[in-house]
């Protein structure tokens, strides 16, 4: 951003809004296509199930998919206090995609920090127990911006598939996070397996949990199998069905909220 005074004003507005947020959980994936937005949305739904107040902030400016997963879209509404987040059955959602619909968002780095700060601080979130932040792929500006804006209340959940390439990229993100002093919750192993031909297969390779944990120096919080109905059936409905897919998210939400074994009916 060009102007220091304007920047300072925005940072102050972010800080004020953040006072009403309990914890920020940033979900990052390094590599695109590992299912980061799916994990962010699934986590948010699962956290809200136990009665928590949950907001979802989509920072994937160029490929916003949170609105799709949560079934919300433009137009947005506003009042004198700011922007009303979209409501998705108990969740409060904000995304650049709610402004742009299907338009592409070409944008260079210098404006992104201000955009992210505005998007968060203009939204009337109210009190939140959790703000789940869907980070963009890679180590782009939005990632560093998110660390800077939410760092003091944030922890990081990394998403990867068992594919060696995805693991390599997530490893870099882990190193960056450590350098920036952000606390790492752990790793979600997405698309770890799939049911096919009456058995279980591992289309992206089979990751050894122990090896993975020592490689990333982080705990595997959950394994989520490949669910072919994602994108066809509503995510919320998929998470209501019993099975490994919903179990993965339930255990993820439990570790994030620190309520292991404290299940509600």
């Amino acid at each position: 951003m060009s102007d220091a005074a304007a920047k300072e004003g925005l940072l102050l507005a972010v800080k004020k809004r953040l006072d009403d947020v309990g914890k920020v959980v940033m979900v990052g994936g390094g590599k695109g296509g590992v299912g980061k937005s799916l994990v962010a949305c699934g986590l948010a739904i699962s956290l809200a199930k136990s009665g928590a107040k949950v907001g979802v902030l989509d920072l994937d400016i160029h490929g916003a998919s949170v609105p799709e997963y949560l079934g919300v879209g433009p137009p947005l509404e506003s009042d004198a206090r700011g922007l009303k987040p979209k409501r998705a059955k108990g969740l409060k959602v904000m995304s650049v995609g709610l402004f742009t619909g299907s338009r592409p968002v070409p944008m260079r780095g210098d404006d992104k920090e201000a955009l992210v700060a505005q998007l968060f601080s203009l939204t009337v979130w109210g009190r939140l127990d959790y703000l789940v932040v869907d980070l963009p792929p890679g180590l782009a500006d939005e990632f560093l911006t998110a660390l800077k804006l939410f760092g003091r209340k944030a922890s990081l959940v990394l998403v990867t598939t068992p594919s060696p390439i995805a693991l390599k990229v997530v490893g870099r993100l882990r190193t960056l996070a450590r350098g920036e002093g952000i606390s790492l919750r752990g790793v979600v192993l997405n698309m770890s397996s799939m049911r096919a031909l009456g058995g279980v297969i591992h289309p992206l390779g089979r990751a050894d949990r122990g090896a993975l944990e020592s490689l990333l120096e982080a705990k595997v919080l959950a394994e989520v199998p490949f669910e072919p109905r994602v994108g066809v059936t509503e995510l919320r409905a998929l998470l209501r069905r019993r099975g490994e897919f919903s179990d993965g998210f339930t255990s993820l939400a439990r570790t994030v909220s620190g309520t292991e074994g404290n299940e509600r009916p």
Binding site: G9, L12, P74, S78, G82, P104, P106, M107
Partner: protein, 142 residues
């Protein structure tokens, strides 16, 4: 219409900088790209200035011109062209305000690259050099 929240954010910044001292003069710049109603904004600031610390303070609000340039072909243009382009925005992408509909840039001026193109070559690789931010331009304490 979120003028009140904009006003509040500026006054938070003022209060922080003043550190308890009274305010003599307050100058605020509003970027043209934000399409803020200057009078409504000024009114909102005045309402919030009725609290302690602002007695007798002079307020100046200035709309700062937006200027755009194209990285592809180098041409330059102003807000009038942008208004023309924004008038073609589908209703579905306008933000519903209590009494009106507003362009997304009213809220997120930095999102201009999604809605504005170079009038000459059509490129989205454009740059707004000024007029996109709300900024505290001057503050004189008592």
């Amino acid at each position: 219409m979120h003028e009140l929240s904009l006003a509040q954010s500026i006054l938070d910044q003022v209060a922080k900088m003043a550190g308890g001292r009274g305010i003599r003069v307050l100058e605020i710049g509003v970027g043209e790209l934000m399409q803020v109603d200057r009078k409504a904004f000024e009114q909102a600031v005045k309402v919030l200035m009725s609290g302690p610390g602002f007695e007798g303070a002079a307020l100046r609000v200035r709309v700062e011109k937006a200027s755009f340039s194209c990285r592809r072909c180098g041409s330059k243009w102003k807000m009038a062209d942008v208004r023309k382009q924004l008038s073609g925005l589908p209703d579905s992408l306008k933000v519903r305000e209590p009494e009106d509909r507003a362009s997304p840039l009213h809220f997120l001026p930095y999102l201009y690259t999604a809605f504005v193109r170079c009038p000459k070559c059509g490129s989205s690789d454009i740059y707004a050099g000024s007029g996109k931010e709300l900024v505290l331009r001057g503050l004189i304490l008592k």
